[in-house]
């Protein structure tokens, strides 16, 4: 638990607050899968949190729920104070647009658009004027250190650069939450380090970053680690011998 985040908890609204969050797929049928069992988690603004767990542990399910791509079957999730259970698909889209910046393992840049257009793209759905969009996209590109690559197509960029573009895109609507799903998974270790350093810098600038990974080395960069196992979330360090012990960075 980060001391800094703990101090902010008294005043601020949690970015993520779940109460007994549960998700069951194919409920009632023979193929019923309980993916998530009563997860309680509270993440405050400015935290840099890793959610770890092996595949099948339910961490993807948790990410989809936290990312407002899916709705829970039981329990409650307040995303930056908004209860997602009552929202329809359109409202969920608006919530994702305003509250969450996604960073994916595979970057997911649109191949025919320049880096700048890719970064500006989400603002199109927020009805922000094009000139303003491009100006802010340019700022975001600068913030990730790519001001000289604005006109390049994704195919003309290295993996690390592409991921930076994706991070700039995630930041563009100034969301309270950055949600990164294996952001270093497609990168070599050195580039991965650079990306993680970028996340740390963003944390220092006040962004909330939640990073989903199966890699303990990656999780070690975070201030706080949550471990998923069999649909349950455990606070703290690496119990049950899943992973080698790593110090949690303060």
């Amino acid at each position: 638990m980060s001391p800094a985040a703990g101090g902010a908890a008294t005043a601020a609204v949690p970015v993520i607050l779940t109460r007994a969050l549960g998700k069951v797929y194919s409920a009632g049928s023979e193929a019923e899968v309980v993916a998530l069992k009563g997860v309680d988690v509270r993440i405050m603004p400015g935290e840099f949190v890793a959610i770890m767990g092996p595949s099948g542990s339910g961490k993807s399910t948790l990410m989809n729920l936290v990312g407002c791509l899916d709705t829970p079957t039981s329990g409650q999730y307040l995303c930056d104070g908004v209860d997602v259970a009552t929202l329809d698909a359109e409202e969920l889209a608006v919530l994702r647009r305003d509250k969450i910046g996604f960073v994916f393992q595979g970057f997911n840049l649109l191949p025919r658009m320049s880096a700048l257009e890719n970064v500006a793209m989400p603002m199109g759905y927020a009805n922000i004027r094009r000139a303003e969009r491009l100006r802010r996209a340019s700022e975001a590109m600068a913030a990730v250190g790519l001001q000289k690559r604005e006109g390049h197509l994704p195919s003309e960029l290295s993996g690390g650069q592409q991921q930076r573009v994706a991070i700039a895109r995630a930041l563009i609507n100034r969301p309270p939450l950055l949600l990164a799903d294996e952001p270093t998974g497609a990168l070599d270790s050195k580039t991965g380090e650079e990306i993680l350093a970028l996340f740390q810098r963003l944390r220092d600038e006040g962004h909330t970053v939640v990073l989903i990974t199966h890699d303990a080395d990656v999780a070690a960069h975070c201030d706080r680690v949550l471990v998923m196992k069999d649909g349950e979330l455990h606070e703290g360090t690496f119990q049950e011998g899943l992973h080698p012990q790593q110090g949690v960075r303060a």
Partner: protein, 412 residues
């Protein structure tokens, strides 16, 4: 997303696959062009019929000799029975049937007309005075026939415009002597040109002589019974009375020809409006068939759009997932794909309209078909283009909008 932004995104997406977009819109281009050409031809034909109706008049009845089967209608009609109408029938109609405006009997045949070294083969009509009123013939020059010409079979002739031009070029020819067959005639007048008739024939390729003249000097060898006419034409004062007059005339002629109840008429009354109605029905059918062909073209074009849009949705499933993740709602996605489909069909529509107009003009210029092109047709085509895009784009767009972003992002 505002309209401009949707449009920009759609143009961007279409440009990325411009060859495919172009080929897809080709279906719409052909469909819309077909609609314009076909509807133009249909309208042109209908306009021609309308012209024919107003030219012939719906106040007119034509009575010809022979059975109801018409000339050539079967073996029952012998040569003798063909000439059953007489000038007395004409007079009886004039005196006994009410609401008749004009009535005239006529004979006709073909002849060679000769003036100096010019000669032409044409048809002649032997007419009674009111024939000119019934057929809306007007004299442009000359005095026409006088009573003496009618009663004493005067060798006078009135020339249709085509014949006049053939014989005299730019001159009127009034007072000149020409030969019809071997008989010399004096030109007593020329007729105002009527142009092409409703059935495409040249109405001005004709000469008129008095009825008695035609019978005595031109029919000669056929040996018609005295007083016989080949046809009687009449007009009624009011078009509403046409059916009534037709009934009266039929009754009168049956009585005069001593036809027993149940026996077949030895004459045939034709109502021009009936012919027109038949012709209109035929044209309507043709228009519908042409429209159906054009419609099928458009449907095929639309299916092309739908097909390509479905492929596009499948191809870009990851893009859709990403756009949804960063805040595109189902409505945004639906609009984006709908905009692409609409754009394909709109571009196709614009090009199709251009080609259709060009095609219709070419058809009008180089073929026999009448063409009438107007803003209504073009508007109709434009509406069809938009409707095609909407109709065939909706399903793929809806399919895209209903994608689950999680599934869509997982697709490789």
């Amino acid at each position: 997303m505002n309209v401009l932004e949707i449009l920009r995104t759609a143009i961007f997406a279409l440009r990325g696959n411009w060859m495919r977009s172009a080929l897809t819109s080709l279906g719409v281009i052909i469909g819309i062009a077909a609609v314009i050409v076909m509807v133009s031809v249909g309208q042109g034909t209908q306009a021609e019929i309308d012209k024919m109706v107003s030219g012939l008049g719906s106040q007119r009845l034509d009575i010809s000799a022979g059975s109801g089967r018409g000339p050539g209608g079967g073996a029952r009609m012998s040569a003798g029975s063909f000439f059953t109408l007489t000038e007395d029938d004409v007079e009886a109609i004039r005196s006994d049937v009410q609401n008749v405006q004009y009535v005239a009997g006529a004979l006709r045949g073909n002849t060679q007309v000769v003036f100096a070294e010019n000669n032409a083969s044409t048809s002649w009509q032997g007419v009674q005075p009111e024939f000119f009123d019934i057929n809306n013939w007007e004299l442009v020059q000359g005095d026409g026939f006088d009573a003496q010409d009618y009663s004493s079979a005067g060798k006078v002739v009135i020339l249709g415009d085509t014949v006049r031009r053939t014989l005299f070029g730019d001159d009127s020819g009034i007072g000149q002597t020409i030969r019809l067959g071997r008989v010399p005639f004096t030109v007593a007048g020329t007729l105002k040109p009527k142009g092409q008739g409703g059935f495409g024939q040249d109405q001005d390729d004709v000469v008129m002589v008095p009825l008695e003249t035609g019978r005595r000097r031109l029919l000669g060898s056929m040996g018609l019974p005295p007083g016989t006419v080949m046809q009687i034409a009449l007009t009624v004062t009011d078009a509403k009375d046409l059916d009534f007059v037709q009934g009266e005339v039929e009754a009168l002629l049956r009585q005069r020809h001593k036809i027993q109840p149940g026996e077949e008429d030895d004459f045939n009354v034709r109502n021009i409006s009936q012919i027109v109605a038949t012709r209109t029905a035929t044209t309507n059918l043709m228009s519908k068939l042409l429209g159906a062909v054009a419609g099928i073209c458009l449907i095929i074009g639309g299916i092309g759009i739908m097909n390509i849009m479905l492929v596009s949705v499948t191809e870009r499933i990851r893009e859709i997932g990403l756009r949804m993740a960063v805040g595109a709602g189902p409505r945004d996605v639906r609009r984006q794909f709908l905009a692409e489909a609409m754009l394909i069909s709109l571009i196709g529509g614009v090009i199709g309209i251009a080609i259709g107009i060009g095609g219709a003009l070419l058809v009008g210029k180089f073929s026999e078909l009448p063409v009438e092109l107007n803003a209504k047709v073009v508007g109709l085509a434009a509406a069809f283009a938009i409707a095609t895009g909407l109709f065939f784009g909706y399903y793929p767009a809806r399919k895209a909008s209903l994608l689950d972003p999680i599934e869509a992002l997982r697709q490789q």
